[in-house]
């Protein structure tokens, strides 16, 4: 019974629209509530749905980053929550999306608004992320998310044989991709040397190997097949979803991600994907740190036998390559906590509906969006999306 879960067949839950804010170092003129208003308002305008029609909302946010207990409570009016069914996931927004899909599959709602928001600039990253750590033996050591990621990076480099230059190559690719994404927080044509000379955060992590402090929000509108058929804009479909949870970071091999492999296996089974490297056309990974992208690609089997770093070197993961990874620039170029995974879904939706503009992947019909949360990605989620065209045949 373990793992034998019935996941939705294609075509049962559609993404009707997806909107993100610009990602910025700080948004001093907006509260997080106003960020959510901005994305929801634009999403409803684009999809032609009125706020009054929204009866089901799932948000994702993190009280410690927001500096507010039950922070999701404050978005109720702008998200259409008054007297309606609003819930809040304390985790990545991609989990809120899965819950939203469950509400539609259960037949309870024909629309569900999914929102993720975070203003990392308003609190203190070290203090806030230190609260994730074991209070008995770890907090006295002054750990935070960067330090754990650095330990993981060091372990990954040692086990995989990748060099720091390989991490820099990930960063170079993503920051170049981000130049074509008008919403990106950080972009540029950085050389490997520049990246390896950027300021050291915690060895081996450097400024350009880690996602910067970022503010932003993302909203996605899910709909039933009936709603999708009535949509005046192209939609995408959730073809498979899978999640899994790993051991706490000190209880596992940080150079691998068993949970991601399990999550992907479940999502691929539901979506009927047997050869991910052939079947997928675009991938968006929640990798705030450069080493995570290689580690996750290996866990997903997208190295196709070779280590992901080899494929990276041949340009396979570039925009225009065999399987573009993070054509948006990804979380390494700046997406806040909680928002990153939902933003991946939004980006895949844009790709599958040919709305990604300059960073559009040609003929994108099937894509993978990934989200993670916890120290060194302890909780992992994969969502496979398909474009509208196959459903209409």
């Amino acid at each position: 019974m373990d793992g034998e879960v019935t996941l939705p067949a294609p075509g049962q839950v559609a993404i009707l629209g997806a909107v993100q804010t610009r990602y910025e170092a700080g948004k001093p003129h907006q509260t997080y509530n106003e960020l959510v208003h901005e994305v929801v308002d634009q999403l409803l305008t684009e999809t032609g749905v009125a706020l009054k029609e929204i009866q089901s909302i799932v948000s994702a946010s993190q009280d410690f980053f927001d500096g507010r207990t039950i922070s999701g409570m404050a978005i109720n009016e702008v998200a259409g929550g008054y007297l309606n069914s609003e819930s809040k996931v304390a985790g990545d927004g991609i989990q809120a999306l899965i819950y939203g899909a469950a509400r539609i599959l259960a037949g309870a709602y024909d629309l569900t608004l999914v929102v993720a928001h975070c203003k990392e600039s308003e609190g203190q990253f070290h203090q806030i992320t230190s609260t994730m750590f074991d209070p008995y033996v770890e907090r006295p050591l002054g750990l935070d998310e960067h330090i754990a990621a650095a330990l993981q990076a060091r372990r990954f480099l040692g086990v995989s044989g990748a060099a720091e230059a390989d991490l820099a190559a990930v960063s170079r690719k993503n920051h170049r991709h981000a130049m074509k994404n008008p919403l990106a927080r950080r972009s540029g044509d950085f050389s490997i040397e520049e990246i390896l000379a950027s300021a050291e955060i915690v060895s081996p992590l450097r400024d350009l190997l880690a996602g910067p402090i970022t503010d932003g929000a993302c909203a996605i509108l899910l709909g039933s097949p009936e709603r999708a058929r009535a949509s005046r804009r192209p939609v995408s479909w959730i073809a498979g979803m899978g999640s899994s949870t790993d051991a706490y970071w000190t209880g596992r091999d940080l150079a691998a991600s068993a949970a991601l492999a399990q999550a992907a296996e479940r999502a691929f089974a539901a979506a009927g994907i047997r050869k991910p490297l052939d079947d997928l056309r675009v991938v968006e990974l929640s990798a705030r740190y450069a080493h995570e992208e290689l580690l996750y690609l290996d866990a997903l089997g997208l190295g196709n036998g070779a280590a992901a770093k080899a494929r990276l070197a041949t340009g396979d993961f570039d925009l225009g390559g065999k399987l573009p990874v993070n054509p948006s620039g990804g979380a390494l170029t700046g997406n806040p906590t909680c928002v990153a995974g939902l933003a991946r879904v939004a980006e895949i939706h844009l790709q599958l509906t040919a709305a990604a503009g300059q960073h559009q992947v040609k003929d994108a019909r099937t894509g993978l969006a990934h989200g993670a949360s916890g120290i060194c990605g302890q909780s992992q989620t994969v969502v496979v999306l398909r474009g509208d065209a196959p459903q209409r045949t």
């Binding site: 985790g91 819950y99 259960a106 309870a108 609260t131 979803m241």
Partner: protein, 385 residues
């Protein structure tokens, strides 16, 4: 059509002010083990886990991930909710939707909190908007007292009515082996002699701070029938939220718009027109005596202004027509992340006929509610069929 969903097992810790003998992970394990034992299941039978906790209360971000072995989560899909007082019902409702959708067959739902490990009033005060509310609120108590003053003014309920609720709760709790505040000899006079925390709310009008956890197993129809002789079927669920700021609904207790909306929705779905007649038992989320009185009105148990009369007549006591909170309710036990789930679990025990000394004979239809944040309401109806 949603799949039919049943609650087949529950597990609770013995809730107390401070569980110094165990840590948070071990507290979770206690409740989870009891729920699995109750169903005769192992973790390998569980498809996914839904968790509820208010992490600011422990000062611990994502404590469920640190505690993963405590709830058997390795390799499992899992998700954590954080909606204030409603978190336990939000978690149960999410578990319901995941089973009803056909995504998972068997789900473990867990709510937990060790309030003793953090600073409760600070965590509650930061519920307030930093620009508009936070400086004035004194945690839940000050905020609640302001609401209660309006209700007292409008409804004419007296301090004696409130004291009767306090006594009912702590005496009912004596029949519940898991309850925190058990006071078999509590009298109305003692309640009225307890000091004002914030006028008109006295110490014994308010809920305690507890450490505790609650777990439930939910399963799809075919599995539920195999796992329990009498599952507690989830017949309807509803959530309703308020506007953004605390002062938007100035008659918050006297007219809880979200509670009226959520309860009316589940009543309608179950064909309930007179809840006192149609329901057999209710487990409601009342943080204070005055809240329970106001909720009688908002849940349609009585007409506006008649809640005092309802408790005077004993309608909601164990021997009354509609016993409310046989478990002792939140006034006897409040371990935030678990509290609303305890309402659902206690309602389920009543339906399954497993409520022991607090059993309402022949309970056929039960209401469970969650209430929190700026007037966020969840409501569930459980039944034998």
């Amino acid at each position: 059509m949603p799949h039919k969903v049943g609650i087949v097992a529950t597990g609770q810790t013995k809730h107390t002010a401070k569980r110094t003998d165990i840590n948070l992970r071990e507290l979770i394990t206690e409740a989870v083990t009891r729920a699995l034992d109750d169903a005769g299941l192992r973790m390998s039978d569980i498809d996914a886990v839904m968790l509820g906790n208010m992490e600011p209360f422990e000062g611990f971000m994502l404590p469920e991930l640190w505690s993963v072995e405590g709830w058997g989560g390795l390799g499992k899909p899992a998700m954590k909710f954080n909606t204030g007082g409603t978190v336990g019902t939000s978690t149960a409702i999410a578990a319901y939707y995941f089973v009803a959708s056909g995504i998972y067959d068997t789900i473990l739902a867990v709510g937990f909190e060790k309030q003793s490990e953090g600073h409760t009033q600070t965590a509650i005060t930061t519920v307030g908007d930093p620009l508009w509310e936070r400086t004035m609120m004194a945690g839940a108590i000050g905020n609640f007292a302001v609401m209660a003053s309006t209700y007292v003014h409008e409804s004419g309920v007296t301090e004696e009515h409130a004291a009767k609720i306090a006594v009912k709760s702590r005496r009912n709790a004596c029949n519940n082996e898991y309850a925190h505040l058990q006071m078999p000899n509590l009298t109305v006079e003692e309640v009225l002699a307890s000091p004002y925390l914030a006028y008109p709310v006295r110490r014994l009008d308010f809920c305690p701070q507890s450490d505790g956890a609650c777990a439930m197993v939910l399963a799809t129809e075919s599995k539920a029938k195999k796992l329990a002789p009498q599952p507690a079927w989830i017949k309807a669920v509803a959530t309703a939220h308020e506007q953004q700021y605390m002062g938007d609904s100035p008659r918050r207790l006297a007219d809880m718009r979200s509670q009226r909306a959520a309860s009316q929705r589940v009543y309608k779905a179950c064909g309930i027109s007179d809840p006192v007649r149609d329901l057999d038992v209710a487990e409601i989320y009342e943080v204070a005596t005055y809240a329970e009185l106001a909720m009688y009105e908002n849940l349609g148990f009585c007409a506006p202004g008649q809640s005092g009369k309802l408790i005077d007549q004993g309608v909601t006591t164990m021997s009354g027509q509609l016993p409310v909170n046989p478990s002792g309710g939140v006034l006897a036990t409040n371990c935030i992340g678990a509290t609303a789930m305890i309402r659902v679990a206690e309602a389920a025990l009543q339906i399954m006929g497993k409520a022991g000394k607090r059993q309402v004979p022949g309970a056929n239809l039960a209401l469970a509610t969650g209430y929190g944040g700026n007037a966020w309401t969840d409501a569930l109806i459980l039944g034998r069929e």
